[in-house]
């Protein structure tokens, strides 16, 4: 949970990673001097998607156990850590940042349009059903499967989840836009609906470029709307 407590540009999650690994090292390395030396090694650069870091943590804990038993050389631990981080980040960023988070947000907004607190609850539960499950069981799975944790069915399952959530997200967005476009069939909504369509078209065009960011565009639009509100 505290992997990113001391996140920084130089070592990124290095300190959080070493801290998370320390209980495992306490078990497998009884000598405190040697243990501190290994922890110091683990404070080096490490970065991955924080939820899926639990899989890497389990796999590296297993390797440290094997290293203490003398069946694995020290370089292997560093190599596996260096390989698992980017591999898990590649799939984790797509799953959590680009798919699950906007999906949960859209579902929450759909419920929140009804004017109740249900939207916030739905958003939180939807995201954490995946996030907390993977976080809780990830360490165990990583420990069981070791360095090949991403080589088996896990990658296929996570890729499948990304694909399905992406498709479901498109359908959900369709429903959300429809709910905004037809909140009630009365003439006073026409201006809202027309402006919403304008916003959608503008948003699709602005999405072609990564800069300015959506917030910078929104601030610009907000300033224009303030001027329009004053002049009308």
């Amino acid at each position: 949970m505290l992997l990113q407590a001391t996140f920084n540009y130089e070592r990124q999650q290095g300190i959080g990673w070493a801290w998370a690994l320390s209980p495992a090292l306490e078990r497998v390395v009884p000598d405190p001097v040697e243990r501190r030396e290994r922890l110091a090694e683990h404070t080096a650069y490490f970065n991955t998607q924080p939820t899926l870091a639990s899989f890497a943590l389990g796999a590296v804990a297993r390797l440290e156990q094997q290293r203490a038993e003398g069946t694995v050389d020290p370089d292997t631990v560093g190599r596996v850590k260096g390989a698992l981080g980017p591999a898990l980040a590649a799939i984790g960023d797509r799953l959590f940042w680009f798919t699950l988070r906007p999906f949960a947000a859209c579902l929450g907004i759909l419920f929140a349009l009804g004017g109740t607190a249900l939207g916030a609850v739905v958003l939180w539960l939807t995201y954490n059903a995946v996030h907390l499950t993977l976080r809780l069981f990830g360490v165990g799975i990583g420990h069981d499967q070791g360095p090949s944790v991403l080589g088996g069915t896990l990658r296929t399952r996570l890729e499948g989840l990304v694909r399905r959530l992406g498709l479901l997200g498109c359908a959900l967005l369709g429903v959300l836009v429809a709910a905004l476009m037809a909140p009630g069939i009365d003439s006073s909504d026409i201006a809202f609906q027309a402006t919403l369509v304008g916003g959608l078209l503008f948003g699709m065009l602005s999405a072609l470029r990564s800069r300015p960011s959506p917030t910078q565009w929104a601030l610009g639009l907000g300033a224009l709307c303030l001027i329009a509100g004053w002049l009308r």
Binding site: A5, R11, I15, G108, G198
Partner: protein, 235 residues
């Protein structure tokens, strides 16, 4: 004494923690914090209006490459908190809509302004990380635990202070316009709200579609089907 401003500032700290240093459970998302603040201030309707717009924009903001995205954790709290603080003494719906506009704009500005603070914390943590390694090699028993506590305390303190500062500045600067220009502000809100929603939803759609025809067809079919269902249902 009204405890709502204090709770708002503390929630800013909690949101700042949940955003990165602790958990990442999405408690920091604007819709969640706005709903909580709606209960605290006793005005769920205004809180949700602001929360929905900021949530759409937050969801459309992706950490692409090395770019630090806008800080919608404290931005969401400031946005909803500011709108609720301004609307607390406004009995009319139109005036509350004006407060929602000012709150949403305030939230976006706070989200943009929060980026340098996040960068500063990350740079500050670099020194902490170097100290940690040196202390471990020098034989210190638990520098990792102390570094982690320091990181968490710093993030919470920055979150609370920044939220309190933005709220204080926002309320002192915007109370006058919120009271005296409510009609113009409400007009601007009626125009800005759908534009912001459309802009944010289009950005999310673009991220979901990824230029795949199948997904576009699914979106179109869902939009048409749901729209027909709602129109027929309304009649």
């Amino acid at each position: 004494m009204n405890p709502a401003p204090l709770v708002t500032a503390l929630l800013g700290g909690v949101a700042a923690l949940d955003a990165a240093p602790v958990g990442q459970t999405m408690l920091f998302q604007p819709l969640v914090t706005a709903t909580l603040l709606g209960f605290v201030w006793g005005d769920l309707a205004t809180a949700l209006q602001v929360g929905i717009v900021l949530q759409v924009l937050a969801a459309s903001t992706q950490p692409v490459g090395s770019r630090t995205p806008e800080d919608y954790a404290t931005g969401g709290v400031v946005g909803a908190g500011l709108a609720l603080a301004l609307a607390a003494h406004e009995p009319f719906t139109m005036a509350r809509q004006g407060c929602a506009l000012l709150g949403t704009l305030g939230g976006m500005i706070a989200a943009v302004g929060g980026v340098p603070l996040i960068k500063w914390q990350r740079r500050h943590n670099e020194g902490l990380a170097r100290w940690c390694e040196q202390a471990l090699r020098a034989g210190d028993a638990d520098p990792l635990g102390r570094a982690q506590v320091a990181g968490v305390v710093l993030a919470f303190a920055v979150g609370v202070s920044y939220t309190a500062l933005c709220m204080g500045l926002g309320v002192s600067l915007l109370s006058g316009p919120a009271s005296h220009e409510s009609i113009r502000l409400a007009r601007a809100w009626a125009l800005a709200r759908p534009l912001w929603l459309g802009l944010g939803l289009a950005q999310i759609l673009s991220a979901f579609l990824q230029r795949r025809l199948t997904r576009g067809v699914v979106f179109g079919a869902a939009l048409l089907g749901a729209w027909l269902f709602l129109v027929i249902g309304a009649h």
